[in-house]
């Protein structure tokens, strides 16, 4: 087990190194000058050149890379050009909305998908099953920004049930900030429920045809117990896999939804940083996202052993 974890952690380091290098190269290949953007439209080329010099952007690219690599090894991801703050500090400020948005969205997605998926499999071929499959297709095919705009207009602006955007003002406490996450979480929950629903249904269908389910029923066991205790538990591995992947994707930054709802999370940060050509923040965000993605996948793999004792590492 520990050997396996160690092997995966080494793999994580390799992945992060590649992401770090690719991110460094790609952001610098893109045209655009962070100094000119900082100074505004009427700044002269000389002003921009002078600021670039001060920001260290005129140094040879290889030296910049070495400095970045050296810093990253010690946990220093550099200084944001735009915010003039350490990148780790900028990222820490964005972690809360992104993590909670991902958690709430996943919660909504599972609350929508699991009962419908299980019931659809149980009543295979019924009207509800066909309806659930169609709804899942619809949810998967409608872009999240469109759902977001509709929900924002009708549920927030017209009905006033939710704040229309943002993450609360200066006085906002924790609950108020969470209140601002409800509508975007609902949007993401609906969009992401489609895949979970389909996996739940398919996995349950496989298990419900097994002999031990028939045996359980022939022993006179109640249907609820058969479905939830025997079938669901054995169908859980694919469901956990897709739930884990969904969570990893959500934590990686729900870019469009954060944009529509003006949430100060990592997705919005990375978009703004690309527009501002804030190289250190783009690099830092990509490293953190890659690390999280690999770590969540590792956690899901380890969870298999908990769910199914037959799985050994």
């Amino acid at each position: 087990m520990w050997r396996y974890v160690l092997k995966r952690l080494v793999g994580l380091v390799v992945v992060v190194f590649f992401v770090l290098t690719i991110a460094f190269v790609i952001v610098r290949l893109a045209p655009g000058d962070p100094a000119a953007l900082l100074l505004g439209p009427d700044a002269t080329a000389a002003d921009a050149a002078s600021l670039r010099e001060r920001l260290g952007l005129e140094r040879p690219i290889f030296l910049q890379y070495l400095a970045f690599l050296g810093g990253a090894v010690t946990g220093d991801l550099g200084q944001s050009i735009f915010f003039n703050q350490p990148v780790t500090q900028v990222l820490a400020q964005r972690a809360e909305p992104t993590v909670f948005l991902a958690l709430f969205s996943l919660l909504f997605a599972v609350m929508i998908a699991a009962p419908i998926g299980i019931y659809a499999a149980y009543r295979r071929g019924s009207f509800l099953d066909q309806g659930a499959v169609s709804l899942a297709m619809l949810a998967a095919s409608v872009p999240s920004f469109w759902t977001g705009l509709l929900f924002q207009r009708y549920l927030a602006t017209d009905l006033g049930w939710f704040p229309s955007s943002g993450y609360g003002g200066p006085d906002a406490g924790f609950l108020e900030r969470m209140r601002h996450l409800m509508l975007p979480s609902l949007v993401l929950g609906i969009v992401n429920s489609a895949l979970i629903l389909r996996f739940t249904r398919a996995s349950m269908l496989d298990v419900l045809g097994e002999d031990y389910i028939r045996t359980a029923r022939s022993k006179g066991m109640g249907e609820a117990r058969v479905i939830l205790r025997h079938a669901l538990k054995n169908a859980a591995i694919p469901i956990v896999t897709v739930v884990g992947l969904t969570f990893a994707l959500l934590v990686s930054g729900a870019v469009v939804t954060e944009r529509v709802f003006n949430l100060p999370g990592m997705g919005n940060l990375v978009v703004n940083s690309v527009l501002r050509r804030d190289y250190p923040v783009i690099q830092g965000t990509l490293i953190v996202v890659a690390t999280l993605y690999v770590a969540i996948n590792l956690a899901v793999d380890l969870l298999y052993a908990v769910i199914d004792r037959r799985v050994k590492y």
């Binding site: 009427d42 002003d47 609350m111 924002q152």
Partner: protein
Amino acid sequence: MRTFRLMAAATLLMGTAIAGPALSQTSLDIAIIGEPQSLDPMMSTQDVVSIVTQHFVETLYTFDSSWNVAPLLAESLPEISADGKTYLIRLRDGITFHDGSAMDSADVVASLERWKTQATRGKGVADRIEAITAVDPLTVQISLNAPYAPLLSLLAFSNSAAAVYPQEVLGETLGAIVGTGPYRLVDHKPDQYIQLARFDGYKPRSEPASGTAGARAALVDELRFVPVPDANTRVEGLLSGQFDYADGLPVEAYDRIAASDAADPVLLDGFGWPVWAINHKAGLLTNRDIRKALQAALPFDDMMFAAFGDDKFFATEAAMYPEGWPWHVTNGTELYNINDPARAAEYLKAAGYDGTPLRILTSRQYEFHFKMAEVAKIALEAAGFTVDMNVVDWATLGQQRNDPALWDIYITHSPFLPEPALTDLYFSTSRLGWANSEKDAVLAAFTTETDTAKRLDLFGQLQGYLMDDVGFIKTGSFAALQGQRKGLTGVNLSPWPAFWNAARP
């Protein structure tokens, strides 16, 4: 289904039942188009920086509602020597910074020195300034080596501003954001909000408010500027009552805002002008005949209509300042909106045009730039041009326009600035490099002349040269759409809206 009901109930509970934030008694939430690049207005020429910082940082002068220069931290307009080279500026007594220290001439001299050496606009005037000296604790003298008429406007402008700070905080970057404005900076969470609170030590001027001049009352306790990069999100926030004011709204939202019970549209007529900036340093348009062909071929009516969709939001007018502005002159306007492909083709023939592509550098950051270019491309091709549209993001445009080898035209826009000399495109030193000996002589006279009537005449000549030599192209004038909560009063409506005299209903 029970699960669904529970979930819906929980969601609504979170959405509605939790008490909202304990708001201070009076505050204004203002949606701005993005995070300001800096909170030091000296170091940026971005409008959004001016909009926010003018509430806590002040300048010696400002503009009244007719765009005349008026005193702000200065006691009165300066005493200018007969030769126009010496400006004696008396400062107001009893002005304190937000840190409690008193403003004196040493602070002003140190601030102006920093402006002269570090601010884009300050550096532009630095070679004309001989000395900035403190005459006594409340008097400053600026000595020039030659008269320079736009100096006062430069000192009044909130963009790349000659802001006054305590000398203790001055450096390449500010030690702290400390100003003299009616509001002080309390908190700044990047991409979330900039929180300002009323500065109790503020000493307002006694004159009635006019533009950004006169009394500044700080009627609400707090101002909160909220960066909202997505225009649609600003609209929804305004209509849902989340924002009291929203800047930079899409014109398509006008009817919806007008029909709402929550907000009113604010249409700023004659807000700004789209510019086709012409490369005079290299490439196709260094040839005057090809520039004339471009001018003759462009269909300004169609371009402006495509860009803004409704004549409520634009005007096809050639004059560099619309009617009603003190700088409105009509010289050369007959050369605007010719829209004659045959005449353009004649110019191209005279130029010996060989089909080299005309490179138009534009972006979709501002959709109206792109729409204008799309329409123009068809007209230019009909006149015989080969057109190469280079559509990039705004950051790339900002970089590429600094290299004259990469473009013939780039598209941008500008608000109408209170003083023509603040528009650097007229100067041969700008990135356009428009050099014309006759124009340059008129421009030099314009910047040194101090008599208003003579300056207007000179500006007329300058506009004439602009049209005749096609220095750059103003495609028309456009209005800007902002929006405010119903019943909100006292906002100074301008490209840089100010809220110190605003009151909530």
